[in-house]
Amino acid sequence: MKKEQSVSAIKEGTVIDHIPSNAALKVVDILDLRGIRSIISVATNLTSRTMGKKGIIKIGGKNLTKEEVDKIALIAPDATVNIIKNYDVKEKIKVAIPTTINKIIKCSNPNCITNNEKSMATKFYVIRKRPLKVRCHYCERNMDKEDISLL
């Protein structure tokens, strides 16, 4: 952990690494970390060999669900999620954009049934990963990365 000295090590929890620097706070938001009570450290503008500048988030005592990992992939496609047990990296997950995205993004078409029917889950097919392009399962519209907003 030497190269990450700017942020203190955690005993149990999750370290999300290789986040684009400008997306680190966004990841805090989509994972809704502001509300949780354990230790969270967020670092941005760290020097990275591969990315230039990067961000890291460390969350004490929390494991991410698959949905949360998928959400991270949408805004930080190169991120890695490290599961920490007793100060050691127990597992390293490379986030990946899934082939279908359920629930976590909103359709940009105001006339789509998903934006009108009460408590309805969204579903999208990924038709291109980089840059991200998805098609709504319901209204069949395509959305580019800049039109995608998270629920």
């Binding site: 789509c112 049934i113 029917e117 009460k118 399962h137 209204c139 069949e140």
Partner: protein, 304 residues
């Protein structure tokens, strides 16, 4: 091929073989009356927005096959006014009917209805998205009047930007190695995403704003209405509404066997003086809705 219990939601869901099978079944329906084929079956028509001709066409198809009808024509049904979800409405209706035809102003509504229902759902138009039975009757008409679907020169004229009918037809015809001619004022031309898709599929197309530049090449000319609702600015609409008006002056500039289609209703795009010519097939096209819808009803109910 078995369509029993299948939903008819989007033209994107159908392969070339499946489309040809549906057209073949429609042909059988046209040849032979089957007055008892759907005896004791009930069709529910749920029209959350009015579309008289589509609704009548489904009702007539069902009656001709001996089936029964139930339904409502607008969203004024009390429970829907009270804000019942579409999901709940469909759950209620599926208990009464064997097959449900739905038209709804929101895009994706038919797909949701299909997920809610254990009975087959037929989409009769979901907002600006899909109207697959229109596309199938268009294909059926082309096949009938040209004797084939493959390798045709197809002109599409009018509002190509917003026209749902045009987009679905282009998707469906793409299975049959067509050459497309998109004829529209620049502001109403085919959206780039569709042109990109055609390029990917290696399908030839031309765009033009002047019909006469390409009219001699065409086997089919599909005319659509330029709809006032599509324009935020009424001045823009006035500018385009009369741009394309076909009349007999076109006749020296087209192939002898060109067929002119239109999903109807027309406003002033096609002059009635063309109706009596061999080129006009738009009324026949509308009538073809019956065998195609008969075929679909019988197929999803597992009766053919």
């Amino acid at each position: 091929m078995n369509f029993e219990k299948q939903d008819i939601i989007s033209i994107h869901d159908f392969s070339k073989q499946e489309l040809l099978f549906i057209l073949k079944t429609a042909k059988l329906m046209e040849k032979k009356l089957n007055p008892n084929l759907l005896k004791d079956k009930i069709l529910a028509t749920l029209f959350f927005e009015p579309s008289t001709r589509t609704r009548l066409s489904f009702m007539s198809a069902m009656e001709q096959l001996g089936g029964k009808l139930m339904g409502f024509a607008t969203a004024k049904m009390t429970s829907i006014k009270k804000g019942e979800t579409l999901w709940d409405t469909i759950k209620m209706v599926e208990a009464y009917a064997d097959v449900i035809v739905i038209r709804h102003p929101l895009e994706g509504s038919a797909r949701l209805a299909a997920e809610a229902s254990s009975k087959p759902i037929i989409n009769a138009g979901d907002g600006a998205n899909q109207h697959p039975t229109q596309t199938m009757l268009d294909l059926y008409t082309i096949q009938k009047v040209k004797g084939k679907l493959d390798n045709l020169h197809i002109g599409l004229l009018g509002d190509l930007k917003y026209g749902r009918t045009v987009h679905s037809l282009v998707t469906a015809l793409s299975h049959f190695n067509p050459i497309f001619y998109f004829i529209a004022p620049q502001a109403l031309q085919m959206p780039q995403t569709y042109l990109d898709e055609l390029k990917e599929k290696k399908i030839k197309f031309f765009t033009a704003s002047n019909l006469l530049k390409v009219s001699k090449k065409l086997d089919i000319l599909y005319v659509t209405r330029i709809q006032k609702e599509r324009f935020a600015d009424p001045v823009e609409y006035e500018k385009y509404k009369g741009v394309y008006k076909l009349d007999t002056s076109l006749l020296p500039n087209i192939k002898k066997d060109l067929k002119i289609m239109h999903p109807l209703p027309r406003v002033n795009e096609i002059d009635p003086s063309l109706d009596a010519t061999d080129h006009a097939v738009y009324f026949e096209q509308a009538a073809n809705g019956i065998p195609v819808r008969k075929a679909l009803l019988a197929l999803v109910l597992g009766k053919v």
